[in-house]
Symmetry: C2
Subunit: 200 residues, 2 copies
């Protein structure tokens, strides 16, 4: 932004630029767009930010985002209460829900173990997961963290914690993404896809 931009405009641009994946040019475009909105629409936008921040909290059971005490999934009588899918963030819950194939429960860790970023197990919602396993109603815990260094480390750490609880701990399958080109697959993925090959 040129030095002549008025301060409230510069501030708004900075706010947009602070969002992930939004560069200065896009931030400027968005700020100008906000200025061009009708007053009413700008108010709605502003209020949506505050309202979401005020009303959305973590479900006391699974730690997913909710605007009530217990989220819609945890309180749904039709879900299979014997399976818990452990994910990093609420985004992954949405991803699984979009498949319409998974009917169990979730547990959101809100992060992964990452010593590089100073995130240890105690900062994740792991003890809340352990608490859910105490009554013996859960048969299987699916570790659905990403197949990255941090995701693997977190999955390993938690699976060891659960080893003595008599619960089955599983991990998402590795392999070729559906629709991907074999020639672009990395070696590690190819090896995993080969190892885990199935009869057709």
């Amino acid at each position: 932004m040129a030095g002549y931009s008025p301060l409230p405009l510069r501030r708004l641009v900075e706010q947009f630029a602070a969002l992930p994946g939004i560069g200065m040019k896009t931030a400027q475009r968005l700020a100008y767009y906000v200025l061009s909105m009708p007053e009413e629409q700008a108010k709605e936008f502003s209020e949506a930010i505050l309202e979401a921040h005020e009303k959305i909290k973590n479900c006391t059971v699974c730690q997913n985002f909710t605007d009530s005490e217990i989220c819609g999934i945890c309180s749904d009588e039709n879900r299979d209460r014997s399976v818990i899918c452990v994910v990093e963030t609420p985004k992954e819950v949405s991803a699984f829900e979009r498949t319409r194939e998974y009917n169990g429960l979730y547990h959101v860790l809100h992060g992964l173990i990452s010593p590089m970023d100073g995130v240890g197990p105690e900062q994740l919602h792991i003890k809340e997961l352990l608490a859910r396993l105490q009554d013996g109603s859960v048969r299987e815990v699916i570790m659905a963290t990403s197949p990255t260094v941090e995701g693997e480390a977190t999955a390993m750490y938690i699976s060891r914690l659960l080893a003595h609880l008599g619960v089955i701990v599983t991990r998402l399958a590795y392999g070729m993404p559906v629709g991907s080109e074999l020639e672009y697959a990395d070696e590690v993925t190819l090896v995993k896809a080969l190892e885990n090959r199935n009869r057709i």
Copy 2:
């Protein structure tokens, strides 16, 4: 978003998705990011939107965005008051200011003549431009609208209005963009670049 997403979260996602160039996936990512912000930061973001919308208005002289009666450029004693660069939106003012080469004044039309979109000359800030030319202090008006159909039409329309005022009306040069590849240039641009060739 899955049907289980709480309403305030869905609302925030919709607000982001309504911004230009922001799809549903990015909107979701941004909404989750806002939820992860500290309360204070979310408030600042929310207020920046309202504040910008309330405090930013058009400069009474050049119609550029400003938070005072007359903008920083129009009130700057060091600018050349004999040249006015006519642009479509405040974005183009920023673009020219970034060059640090132009030291004249601006006039922001806030749109282009576009019969297809129902925008006629009377919706643009053209009469304010005419008013600035009455005292004879302006020597040159640079038509710096985009080289598009609407930009050309607007430039032609305004230049005809100014014809009898004794002011020099100029247009930005057409030619090859610096750093571009000749083989990808369109024919019209190539013809213009050829016509306007300079001695080296």
